[in-house]
């Protein structure tokens, strides 16, 4: 009887401990982001205040409004950066998905010599650190005269995204049973029709989420963009964020507002794909 009670107390204690640990961990995860959002909406005086003001007295969207104003706040043309980011990310994603689909299909459905070496080779191109790759790209693009253009960044991001897109799409095609396409072919479809009418729609959601993943990679990339872009003609948002720090005094509120603008699309898109992303990465982990 006594032993029972002791064991029950232990259990509830362990339960409480887990709850506390989980709460702390989640606070650690959520707090920094929340703090950025709050700081973007409060007046600069409050950010600078000593002793600190914890609960904002007034919230306003002033920072956002002035950011998209005529020339942008503090001379940082946020609107142009936003447009560049959008054009570059969307275009490179569409192209990377096209290439990734054909490559992923090859890995999922065919056996060929050197398959795993090929796969590893593709992945290894992704391991090259951005800053190391930026050196020769800088030289080449400068020679070709395409430095500081959308085209240069789009081309670079396609190459950056292809390996991972192939990995993900390979996983999604593998989840579609082979028999379905074979059945369609027996019923008179060509291989192409079987792919287009049967396998593609089934793998569709997965492919869409790989697309979103590629979009986010381009949207967030900094190391390459910071060297290949030079001016307002092609600078993206992450590079723009650094504009703020290079100024003499740091405009914390403006930076926080820009950060919110960068994170908003990423936040929305990630929520849409979260389920598919995990299953795409892990499929094949157990099945081989």
């Amino acid at each position: 009887m006594d032993k029972n009670r002791a064991s029950r107390r232990w259990k509830s204690l362990a339960h409480l401990g887990r709850f506390v640990a989980l709460t702390l961990a989640m606070a650690f995860i959520c707090l920094p982001g929340a703090w950025i959002v709050i700081s973007a909406m409060r007046p600069t005086v409050e950010i600078m205040a000593k002793p600190p003001v914890w609960i904002p007295h007034e919230l306003s969207f002033q920072a956002f409004i002035s950011m998209f104003g005529v020339i942008g706040q503090g001379g940082v043309p946020v609107f142009a950066y936003f447009r560049n980011s959008l054009i570059i990310s969307v275009t490179s994603t569409v192209i990377a998905i096209g290439i990734g689909m054909s490559g992923g299909y090859a890995f999922a459905r065919f056996r060929f010599r050197g398959k795993s070496a090929m796969f590893l080779g593709l992945m290894l191109t992704r391991t090259v650190p951005g800053i190391a790759l930026s050196l020769p790209l800088f030289i080449i693009y400068a020679r070709l005269g395409i430095l500081d253009t959308h085209f240069a960044l789009i081309l670079t991001y396609v190459a950056l995204n292809v390996p991972f897109t192939i990995w993900l799409i390979d996983g999604f095609f593998r989840q579609v049973p082979k028999d379905l396409a074979e059945a369609a072919q027996i019923d008179g479809c060509t291989r192409w029709q079987a792919f287009w009418r049967v396998e593609f729609p089934l793998a569709g959601p997965g492919i869409a989420s790989s697309g979103i993943f590629a979009f986010l990679t381009s949207w967030n990339e900094f190391a390459l963009a910071s060297q290949i872009t030079r001016s307002v003609a092609s600078k993206t948002l992450p590079v723009g964020l650094l504009d703020y720090t290079s100024e003499f005094t740091i405009d914390w509120r403006g930076m926080c507002a820009l950060a919110v603008i960068m994170i908003a699309p990423a936040l929305t898109l990630t929520f849409i794909i979260q389920k598919h992303l995990v299953s795409g990465l892990t499929s094949g982990a157990v099945k081989g």
């Binding site: 640990a21 989980l22 982001g33 703090w35 290894l124 391991t127 190391a132 050196l135 020769p136 986010l216």
Partner: protein, 298 residues
């Protein structure tokens, strides 16, 4: 059809191979070549001056380089191990949680959406000695009276960068390990319990071997972009103060674009590329081994 027939899979892979050759492989060959020259950005004709291994000699005998190299390896080792540990702990906690698993999992995705540059900015803001959240909190609680110079002192700045790294990548581990835990069959665990295993034993000998491949997937994904630390450091301290947080990658950037010594920077870049490749191949092999082991046992 005329000419040699190319097999279908190779044809399908062709676009990927072409793009990667054009944007990654060929440029890397160029940078390999230029790492043997005295190439300076300011004097374009210097790309033809062949100096054989002198750049590598200079790099490998340079004290600054080795300090940055050692710091990079230390940061990666600490970060990867701690991320793995925290990720595993978090995954186990969430798996045990009776309610709100979905909400918790969604919250866990949060840091993954942040670009490294944003992570860096966010922690630059939080660790700022004057307006930062952390110093404000410490002072309000009366723990210290004077502001702590988080990003100004070398050791503290390293710690701040480590915290930023861990914040941004722990959830990758947690999410993938959680996926592993959730897909695990129940029977072996129950059998272990019936056979009288302690919780530790059933974790060590039943759960862990099953979850391991998932942890290695996370490691492989993570090792693919270890260089994201560059973005974080670039915005947080830019390798400063006085090079006390200089990493391999910030050193490369500074040598190439700051001092315009492209040839020398390319030599360093090659060393960093080899480092990344060794990392990735190591984890990829572990992953492959874990996969076959799982396939054999289950």
């Amino acid at each position: 059809m005329k000419g040699p027939r190319i097999s279908t899979p190779l044809l399908l892979l062709m676009p990927a191979v072409l793009v990667l050759c054009a944007v990654v492989v060929l440029p890397l060959l160029l940078s390999l070549y230029s790492s043997f020259t005295a190439f300076r950005l300011t004097r374009p004709e210097s790309i033809w001056i062949w100096i054989s291994f002198r750049n590598y000699e200079n790099t490998l005998t340079d004290y600054v380089f080795w300090v940055a190299f050692g710091r990079t390896v230390l940061l990666l080792t600490l970060a990867l191990n701690l991320e793995m540990l925290f990720g595993l702990g978090l995954a186990l906690l969430i798996e045990k949680a009776s309610r709100g698993q979905r909400v918790l999992r969604t919250l866990l995705m949060f840091p993954m959406m942040f670009s490294p540059i944003l992570v860096g900015f966010q922690f630059k803001f939080m660790f700022n000695d004057n307006v930062g959240l952390i110093n404000n909190a410490l002072q309000s609680l009366g723990i210290t009276q004077t502001p702590i110079p988080w990003l100004i002192d070398g050791g503290l700045a390293f710690f701040a960068i480590l915290v930023a790294e861990i914040w941004s990548s722990t959830s990758v581990f947690a999410i993938l390990i959680l996926a592993g835990l959730l897909s695990m069959p129940r029977e072996p665990l129950e059998a272990a319990k019936v056979d009288g295993c302690t919780p530790w034993q059933s974790f060590r000998y039943v759960t862990w071997p099953f979850v391991m491949p998932f942890a290695y997937i996370a490691m492989t994904i993570r090792s693919l972009d270890v260089a994201r630390a560059y973005d974080i450091v670039k915005i947080m301290t830019d390798g400063g103060p006085a090079r006390r947080t200089e990493l391999l990658w910030t050193l490369i950037g500074r040598t190439a674009y700051g001092d315009s010594k492209m040839g020398l920077a390319n030599a360093m870049a090659y060393i960093s590329i080899v480092l990344s490749i060794v990392f990735t191949v190591y984890f990829y092999r572990k992953l492959a081994a874990a996969r076959t082991q799982i396939a054999a046992e289950w």
